[in-house]
């Protein structure tokens, strides 16, 4: 019998470890001057250094150092006065040197934290995620696995390697062991990655697109009996490509571990692959016999010792923290906590802010993004930010509602039109002939027509049965093809029937 999540958390408590890799948005690669632009023709952005040709040597990208320090500062880390690169030795065809130039026991940033807020039964709750380290490394090339049926590595006949991405600067952010999340582990994990993403975006150090791989998350999960001291065996889940997947992967792994443990079976320490379609993980390479990476200090590079001046200079350029910014917005818009949380969850806060900046009323802006647009985005399985509608569009619609040129109902038609690709709001209004009928005489004509068609209903209203007016209002709306302002119609109708 399959366990439910509730079953799991009744007996076990989860322990998390999150590793996030970020591709830095520098112009050139970590150790050479090759271009970093995404999507180029294969092997057009390589050189002796990133190809690892015999005799080649790395030289560190100064901007990558600055970006990494900025990330460390934004995460409340200490910046190491002295840090070094190290070689992580293992063989794999996507790694030209068969070692990765990374950092080992002397990373550039250590001991930070990130506070995240999660919506719980008892209201919003804050969790502090402690960060072990932030360090620099280089990305690998990309392989295409050919000949098999799935394009995955299993069953492939051969592989084709493109080294354009080899050497792209990466920053790895590793949390300390995260305990005390209880049943909210999946949400905490998601909130952590989401908040981290916001910070990184705000710093301008990466375009942090999970779908494109510029932000990658590996989730480590283990379970232990509630109240136990010793940590359970963990599994590491890779290929988690969206915020939603982070949450699902953690929840899924918790259930999987619990099922094994309940049966008296052992959790294997291994790397697992997350599958978007099923929400489940499958095993990858077993980590029972961990590869010995034989780390040693990189002899081709010299230590990095950032001066206090440099660190302060970077600190001074840090933008406002997302949490601070959010508090300011919340106050300015007078939004209750639950709504703030909803906007963050639906990932529409930036969009709402942009819409408000263009002059829209915050409440209306929020209403559209959280309502109609988020709903359709969800249906389509994409993020609100990817919907083909912009803050400018929404701001325009809101301003038309405010000026009375659109009713809510008509506005919905316009929004739908924009989403369906019919053009911008003004174009749609023109094309579809959407127009609020606010001309009193036109309205009166329709009202009189409706009264004439339903005299008995009109009589009811005259006699004080106001709710009956609904049928008449409906008829007027139908007559005007929905383009009348329903509130105005009601006002005129009731007045006409002596009930105003």
């Amino acid at each position: 019998m399959a366990l439910t999540y509730d079953d799991v958390i009744a007996k076990y408590e989860p322990v998390l470890g999150l590793e996030v890799h970020v591709e830095l948005g520098t112009e050139s690669k970590m150790f050479c001057g090759c271009n970093t632009v995404f999507g180029a023709e294969p092997n057009t952005q390589t050189c002796p250094i990133c190809l690892g040709l015999p005799g080649s040597l790395p030289v560190v990208n100064a901007k990558a150092i600055e970006y990494t320090i900025a990330i460390g500062l934004a995460l409340n880390c200490s910046i190491a006065p002295y840090s070094r690169f190290a070689r992580k030795n293992y063989f794999y065809p996507d790694m030209p040197k068969n070692f990765q130039t990374s950092q080992y026991d002397e990373p550039i940033c250590i001991n930070g934290y990130l506070d995240v807020t999660v919506d719980t039964e008892g209201g919003p709750r804050e969790f502090r995620i402690e960060i072990e380290r932030v360090h620099m490394e280089e990305d690998t090339g990309k392989s295409l696995h050919m000949g098999g049926s799935t394009g995955r590595i299993h069953g492939a006949d051969y592989s084709l390697l493109d080294y354009n991405r080899a050497g792209i600067p990466l920053v790895e952010i590793v949390t300390k062991v995260v305990t005390g999340t209880g049943k909210y582990a999946p949400e905490v994990a998601r909130a952590y990655v989401s908040e981290l993403r916001d910070i990184l975006r705000g710093l301008g150090v990466s375009d942090v697109k999970m779908e494109q791989g510029s932000l990658r998350c590996d989730a480590n999960v283990s379970l232990r009996l509630i109240g136990a001291d010793k940590l359970g065996t963990r599994s590491e889940t890779k290929n988690v490509n969206s915020l939603r997947s982070v949450e699902r992967a953690v929840r899924g792994e918790m259930i999987r571990h619990a099922e094994l443990l309940n049966k008296g079976e052992r959790v294997i320490q291994e790397t697992r692959h997350f599958h978007e379609d099923t929400g489940l993980t499958t095993p990858g390479r077993s980590k029972e016999q961990a590869e010995d990476y034989r780390y040693f200090p990189e002899p081709d590079l010299v230590p990095v010792a950032p001066s206090a001046e440099l660190i302060e200079k970077i600190r001074a350029t840090l933008p406002e923290k997302p949490s601070v910014r959010r508090k300011k917005l919340q106050e300015a818009w007078q939004v209750p906590d639950k709504e703030m949380a909803a906007m963050i969850n639906a990932d529409v806060l930036d969009l709402v802010e942009a819409t408000v900046k263009l002059g829209a009323d915050p409440t209306r802006a929020r209403g559209w993004w959280l309502g109609e647009i988020a709903r359709i985005a969800n249906e389509r399985g994409i993020g609100a930010a990817e919907m083909p509608i912009t803050p400018a569009d929404v701001a325009e619609v809101v301003s038309l509602i405010t000026s009375g040129e659109l009713t809510d109902k008509l506005a919905r038609q316009v929004i739908e039109g924009v989403i369906n690709g019919e053009g911008r709001p003004a174009e749609i209004i023109e094309k579809r002939g959407i127009k609020v009928v606010s001309d009193d005489s036109a309205l009166m004509a329709a009202i009189e027509k409706a009264i004439a068609a339903q005299p008995d209903v009109a009589e009811k209203v005259r006699n004080g049965h106001v709710p009956a007016a609904g049928a008449l209002i409906g008829a007027v709306m139908k007559e005007t093809k929905g383009q009348a302002d329903a509130a105005k119609v009601r006002e005129l109708l009731l007045k006409h029937l002596g009930q105003a």
Binding site: N35, L160, L161
Partner: protein, 99 residues
């Protein structure tokens, strides 16, 4: 006497991706044991208060400006490739998982 067994050598050969012959495994086991004996004397003087040297020069903070420089052409990049297809390096079936 340092003892590197034939099996030890076999494990190291695996880590180093060299398909050593049985003969070589046995020979190396003997040779390396002798060499390790000779080099192990570094431990005699490597006390805790001596810092290690990884760089002979006291250099620090050597960086380059973040600017794009010309890359190799694809044909130059692939010029040494034992096999290629569609402007990519063609390699046999990879069994292991990416790290």
């Amino acid at each position: 006497m340092s003892n590197i067994s034939r099996d030890d050598v076999a494990n190291l050969a695996k880590l180093a991706r060299i398909d050593l012959s049985e003969d070589e495994l046995n020979h190396l086991s003997k040779e390396l044991s002798v060499i390790l004996d000779a080099v192990a004397r570094v431990q005699e003087v490597a006390s805790a208060d001596v810092p290690p040297t990884s760089h002979p020069l006291p250099l620090q903070n050597v960086f380059r400006v973040d600017e794009v420089r010309p890359s190799l052409t694809p044909s130059e990049a692939l010029s040494g490739a034992p096999a290629q297809e569609e402007q990519r390096f063609k390699v046999p079936q990879i069994l292991g998982e990416e790290q």
